[in-house]
Amino acid sequence: MSRVVIMCPGRGSYTEASLGSLDPDHELVRTAERRRSDFGLEPLLALDQAQRFEPARHLRPAHVSPLIYVKAMIDATAVASEHEVVAVGGNSMGWYIGLAVAGALSFEDGFRLVQKMALLQEELAGGGQILYPLVADDWTPSPEAQTAVDDTLASSGGEAMHSITLGGYTVLAGSAKGLSHLLKTLPQVRIGSVTYPIRLAQHGPYHTRLAEPVAVAAAREFSDLKLQAPHTTLVDGRGRLFSPWSTDLNELRRYTLGTQVTTPYDFTASVRVAMREFAPDQLVLPGPGNTLGGIVGQILVAEGWRGLRSKADFIADQKSAAASGSPPLVNSMTLQAT
C-alpha cells in the first residue's frame, strides 16, 4: 500500500469534459441526490448527464460545487480503499471536500456545507476572482509579473486583494470595481493557449474580507454542523495541521466557517507542508478535471522535491512513471481515467 496525500479540487475543476463524471448507481451519488432534493435544486445527474455543457447553468456555484464534491468524494473513496491516505488537503472549496475525505464531516454534512456555502455566496458576495500567472511558460518565476500584481493591488484603492496562492499562479479578488481595475491594469500574459488575466466564471471574492457576510451567515447556518476529529490529518490553507489525535474542534470550526472564508488561502503552503511533513509516495488529485495538476507540479518544482527543478523535469518524471507502469508522483485521477 503506498502512502498518499489527497489534495481536493476547487471550484474551477468541473468543465465541459467533466460531463458524465458521476456514476448514477454509486451510493454517494444516490445519497447526494437525496440531500440535493432538500434544497429544491435540480438533480445533479440532470446536470452531469446533460447533452451539452452550458456555462451559465453548469458553473452556477450552487450547481458546480456539489458536482465537484460528489465526484471528488467518489474518487477519494476509491483511493482510500487501495492506499494509505496520510494527509488530506484541498484548494479553496476543496477544503470542504477534504473535511469529508478526512472524516471530519460525514458525507452528508459535507454535502450540506458545500451546497449551502455555494448558495450563500450567490446570495451575499458581490465581486469575483481573477487568475494570473507569476511564472513563465516554463514555470520559472516571473518577478515582473509579481511586481505588476503588487503594483496593481496597491493602486486598486482597496477594491482588489489577494485571494489564493496557487503554485505559479495567484488568484486575486475584488469588488466589481476592483475586478475591473485588475482586468484593465494587469499586463496581458500568454501561457500556452490562454491569455491572462482571466476572470473566473461565477466565482465570488472568496478568501477576502469581501466574503465576510458569507462567514457571518455560515456561522449562523452551521451552528449545528457536526465536526469531528478527522481520521486522517488535514492540512489547511495556512499549512496548519489538524491531526486525528489532537484536533481542536472549535478551531477547526472557526477556521472552516470563518478564517479561511475571509483571509487568503495558501494552497502552495498546504501542498508544501503535506509533502515535507508526510513525504507521501504519491500526491493524488481526485477529479473532476485536472486543474491542480500543473499547479502542484509548479509547487513541487519550486520545492525541488525528488530533485525536480524545472517543468521539463516534472513532465519527464511523470512520463517516465507512466512508461514504466509505476505510480507517478502526482496522480491525477481524471488523467488516469482517460
Binding site: 499549512g239 491531526s243 489532537s246 503552503a269 511533513e277 513525504a279 525528488r306
Partner: protein, 746 residues
C-alpha cells in the same frame, strides 16, 4: 550499545502501549488532565505528538548517521518535556536554545502557519543547503519567523546574549525604537545542568540579577534542563536547586513530576517573568537517554542498572502513561500516532538525504562577512543634519574648535561618537566607566550628559556581559558601541565574539545579525598605566575570528573617518567590527619634536563629502613620491615609522610609509601595489613577534601575491609587556625600524 539502548527505549514504549488499559471513561478534550490544572486533555495529546515527533527524529538521526547520510546525533531524547515551554512561550519571545530542543521547537513551530519542523530537522541532520536555519552549515535549532536565533549552545555561551536581549528590549522601548516585539516579550535561554557551571553562563545569570538590582527591567527566563549529567560526569544531587534557588534577585521555579504539573509550573514561571520583568530561573527535570551523543558509550561510565533506571524515567513513556491513565487518550490512539510519526519521519528522511550539500567554500562563507562597500560609503558619508548637530554641540562644533584648532585622537573619537549618536538614534554606548566618568581616557566624555543615561551607560565590570549586552542590543535593532577598557581584558570574554557574535550570521545563513562596533583600548607604549594588562600588544586572537573586521587608527582624522566606516558596515550589513584604539596615541600631540603638534588633527566635517569616511582596504600613504623602500605599519608603529623615515632620509634613503588602518581584512591590494613600486619592503609590527600581529600574514600574502623584491620585518619581542622602563626593552623602537630598513637595503 547505543543502538541497542535506542531499541530498548522504543520497545519499552511499544510494550507499554500494547498492554495498556485506560479507564472506562475518557476525558473530554477540554477537560483538565487533573482538577485544577490548566493543561487540557487535548493540549496534552498535542504536546505528546510533538514529543513523539522529536523522539522519532532522534531515532532516525542515528539511522541516518549509520548510513553516512546524517551528521548529528546529540539528541533531545529524555528532554521532551521542554515541549511544554515551546507551547507556552510566544513566537515573539526571543529564545536561545539548548541543543536538546527538538520537542521545544516542534511545539513552538506549531504556532506558525506553514511550518515544517519534521522536514527542517531532517535537513539539518543531513547538513543540506536546503536547511532553512543554517543553510546546511550546522545542526542548530533556530527560526527567523519564530524568533529563535541559532547557536551551538554547547557551553551555554548564549546566556549573556539572552540577558542582553532582555535588557535591550526595554532599553529600545525607552528610546522609542520599534523592536517589532510586544512590550511584554521575554527573553529565554535554555541550557543543561552541566553547562550552567561555565563561567559564561554564570556571568550571564549574575549580570541579569545585577541589572535587576539596578532597577532595569530584565525579563529573562533561564531554563536549566537538568538531566543530572554532563557527558559522563554526574551532577551532584540537588546542585542546581542548592545554587540557584537561594540567589537574591532571581525568582526560582522547579518543574518536575507529571506533565500537567510541569505545565502549570512552567506557566507560572513564564507569567512571573513576563509580569515582573524579573530574571527567573526554571529548573526543568529531564533525563538523558542514549548517551551524550551517538558516539558516546554510556556503559563506559554507567552501570547497566543506572542506564535502565534512566530509561525507566523516559518522559515520553511517562507521558503516554499519564495520558492513558487519566483518560486523555486511548492506547490505540497513541499507538496510531506513534506509527504515523515513525512512517512520516522515515519517508521524509529519504527525501531529506537526497537534498543538496555544500560543495564550495564561497557558498559556505558567504554570510560570514558580507561586503557592500557602495552602501557602506553612502551610509558613512551621508551628511548629518546641521541643526541636530548644533542642538548637541551648541557653539562648540568639533570643526570650530579653538585654541587649539587641531585636537588629539582621543578628542576626535569623542567628537565622532557624538556625531554618530546624533546621526543614528539607535546607537548606544556602554562599558566600564564610560558613563559618568567619561571613559578611563576621557574618550566618552559628555556623551551621557548629551544623550542621557539610556544611550550612554556604565555596566558592571565584566566584559562577557558587555559583549552579551551588545549582541542582544544588535538583535533587537539597536546599534551598540560597547567599550572594552583594555585589550588584555578582552581575552576572558573573547568567546562572546568568536563563538557567538561573529558566528551568528554563519549559523543563521545571514538571517540574524548582531551589528556592533566594539571599541577596545589597547597596544603598548602608553606612559600612564604600565605593564601587560594595560599595554597588551597581541591581536592574534582577534585576527583569527572569521568575519571580524578590525579597524586600528593611528591618528584622530583617520579615527573619525574609520568610525564612520565601521558603523556603516555594522548598520548596513550587520558586521561585527572591532575598533582598536592605540592608548598611547589618544593624547599624543607631537610627531618629531616635543611641541610640534603634528599628531593633532582637524575634524572631517560630516557634510556629505566623499572623503569623510574610510572603509577596509583604504590605506594611508606618506611620502608617496619615495621609492627606495616601503614601510608597512599601523598605529604606534606607523608613527614610529614616520620618525624612522626622517632619520633614513637624512641617510639618503627615501622611504614611503603605509598605514594599513585595517588589520582585518588586510589591505593587501594596496600593500602589494606599493611594494611592487618600491621593490623593498619592511613590515613594522608593534605586536609581539609570534603570530600576535599581522606581519606573518602580510609577508606571506606578498610572497604568494607575486612580490619578488626584498622583504623583512621588525616586531616587538615575544614577551608580555613588563612594568616601567623595561617595557621599552621589549617593544619595537624607532631604532629597530631604522636598522631593519637598512638591512632590507643592504
Amino acid at each position: 550499545m547505543s543502538t541497542n539502548r535506542v531499541a530498548v527505549v522504543e520497545g519499552n514504549l511499544d510494550a507499554y502501549l500494547d498492554g495498556a488499559v485506560g479507564p472506562d471513561r475518557l476525558l473530554s478534550p477540554d477537560d483538565p488532565l487533573r482538577p485544577g490544572s490548566a493543561l487540557t486533555a487535548r493540549k496534552a495529546v498535542e504536546l505528546f505528538e510533538d514529543q513523539v515527533l522529536s523522539r522519532v527524529l532522534d531515532v532516525v538521526a542515528r539511522e541516518l548517521k549509520r548510513e553516512g547520510e546524517g551528521f548529528y546525533t546529540i539528541s533531545s531524547a529524555g528532554h521532551e518535556q521542554n515541549a511544554v515551554l515551546g507551547a507556552q512561550l510566544r513566537t515573539t519571545d526571543p529564545c536561545f536554545l539548548h541543543y536538546r530542543s527538538g520537542a521545544f521547537m516542534a511545539s513552538r513551530l506549531r504556532q506558525l502557519d506553514g511550518s515544517t519542523p519534521l522536514f527542517d530537522t531532517l535537513l539539518s541532520f543531513c547538513a543540506s543547503t536546503d536547511d532553512p536555519v543554517s543553510g546546511g552549515r550546522h545542526k542548530v535549532w533556530g527560526s527567523k519567523e519564530a524568533w529563535v536565533p541559532p547557536q551551538t549552545s554547547t557551553i551555554a555561551s548564549h546566556v549573556p546574549k539572552a540577558v542582553g536581549t532582555a535588557f535591550s528590549l526595554s532599553r529600545a522601548r525607552k528610546l522609542g525604537l520599534d523592536t517589532g516585539l510586544p512590550e511584554d516579550a521575554i527573553s529565554v535561554a535554555t541550557f543543561g545542568d552541566a553547562s550552567v557551571n561555565h563561567a559564561t553562563a554564570l556571568a550571564g545569570i549574575n549580570s541579569a540579577r545585577y541589572a535587576w538590582r539596578r532597577m532595569n527591567p530584565t525579563p529573562v527566563l533561564f531554563v536549566c534542563e537538568d538531566n543530572q549529567r554532563g557527558i559522563s560526569v554526574e551532577t551532584p544531587r540537588r546542585w542546581i536547586r542548592d545554587f540557584f534557588s537561594r540567589l537574591e534577585h532571581l525568582r526560582y521555579f522547579e518543574a518536575t513530576g507529571d506533565v500537567d504539573s510541569i505545565w502549570d509550573t512552567v506557566s507560572l514561571a513564564i507569567q512571573t517573568c513576563r509580569t515582573t520583568q524579573q530574571p527567573t530561573f526554571l529548573r526543568l527535570r529531564c533525563h538523558r537517554l542514549w548517551g551524550h551523543a551517538g558516539s558516546d558509550v554510556e556503559s563506559a561510565y554507567m552501570s547497566q542498572a543506572e542506564i535502565e533506571l534512566a530509561e525507566s524515567k523516559d518522559p515520553v513513556l511517562a507521558n503516554a502513561r499519564r495520558l492513558i491513565e487519566t483518560g486523555a487518550a486511548t492506547p490505540a490512539a497513541l499507538r496510531s500516532m506513534l506509527k504515523s510519526a515513525r512512517e512520516r519521519v522515515r519517508a521524509a528522511a529519504k527525501e531529506a538525504k537526497s537534498r543538496p550539500k555544500h560543495v564550495s567554500v564561497r557558498a559556505i562563507i558567504e554570510p560570514l562577512a558580507p561586503e557592500d562597500p557602495e552602501r557602506w560609503r553612502e551610509a558613512a558619508t551621508a551628511a548629518i543634519d546641521p541643526e541636530k548637530r548644533r542642538q548637541v554641540f551648541g557653539e562648540r562644533l568639533p570643526e570650530n574648535a579653538k585654541a587649539p584648532t587641531r585636537r588629539t585622537m582621543g578628542a576626535r573619537i569623542n567628537d565622532a561618537l557624538h556625531d554618530e549618536m546624533i546621526r543614528r538614534p539607535n546607537v548606544i554606548t556602554f562599558g566600564e566607566d564610560v558613563g559618568r566618568k567619561g571613559g578611563v581616557y576621557g574618550v566618552t566624555q559628555n556623551l551621557q550628559q548629551h544623550f542621557g543615561r539610556s544611550r550612554c551607560f556604565d555596566t558592571l565590570l565584566d566584559e562577557t556581559t558587555i559583549l552579551g549586552v551588545a549582541q542582544g542590543a544588535g538583535l533587537v535593532g539597536l546599534l551598540p558601541i560597547p567599550e572594552v577598557p583594555y585589550l588584555a581584558y578582552l581575552h576572558n570574554a573573547i568567546d562572546q565574539l568568536r563563538g557567538e557574535a561573529c558566528s551568528l550570521q554563519f549559523f543563521s545563513n545571514g538571517q540574524y545579525q548582531n551589528p556592533m562596533v566594539i571599541r577596545i583600548a589597547g597596544l603598548g607604549y602608553q606612559k600612564g598605566f604600565g605593564g601587560h594588562f594595560h599595554n597588551d600588544n597581541s591581536i592574534g586572537a582577534l585576527r583569527e575570528i572569521p568575519g571580524l573586521a578590525i579597524a586600528c587608527p593611528s591618528n584622530g582624522y583617520d579615527a573619525v573617518r574609520m568610525m564612520r566606516g565601521a558603523l556603516a558596515m555594522a548598520a548596513t550589513s550587520g558586521r561585527v567590527v572591532t575598533f582598536l584604539e592605540p592608548i598611547a596615541l589618544y593624547h599624543e600631540r607631537d610627531l618629531y619634536e616635543a611641541g610640534d603638534g603634528l599628531w593633532l588633527t582637524d575634524y572631517p566635517v560630516p557634510d556629505g563629502s566623499a572623503d569623510i569616511a574610510l572603509l577596509p582596504g583604504e590605506v594611508g600613504i606618506t611620502h608617496a613620491e619615495h621609492k627606495d623602500l616601503l614601510i608597512v605599519s599601523y598605529a604606534n608603529g606607523y608613527r614610529l615609522s614616520l620618525r624612522a623615515a626622517r632619520q633614513l632620509e637624512a641617510d639618503g634613503i627615501k622611504a614611503r610609509v603605509l598605514d594599513m588602518r585595517w588589520l582585518n581584512p588586510l589591505p593587501m591590494d594596496a600593500i602589494l601595489e606599493h611594494a611592487e613600486q618600491c621593490g623593498n619592503v619592511l613590515v613594522v609590527d608593534e605586536c609581539r613577534a609570534t603570530a600576535a600581529g599581522a606581519a606573518d600574514s602580510i609577508i606571506a600574502s606578498l610572497v604568494e601575491g607575486g612580490y619578488r623584491g626584498v622583504i623583512r620585518s621588525v616586531r616587538s619581542a615575544d614577551s608580555y609587556i613588563p612594568l616601567g622602563a623595561a617595557a621599552e626593552v621589549v617593544l619595537l623602537s624607532e631604532e629597530d625600524i631604522v636598522k631593519g630598513a637598512k638591512e632590507v637595503l643592504r
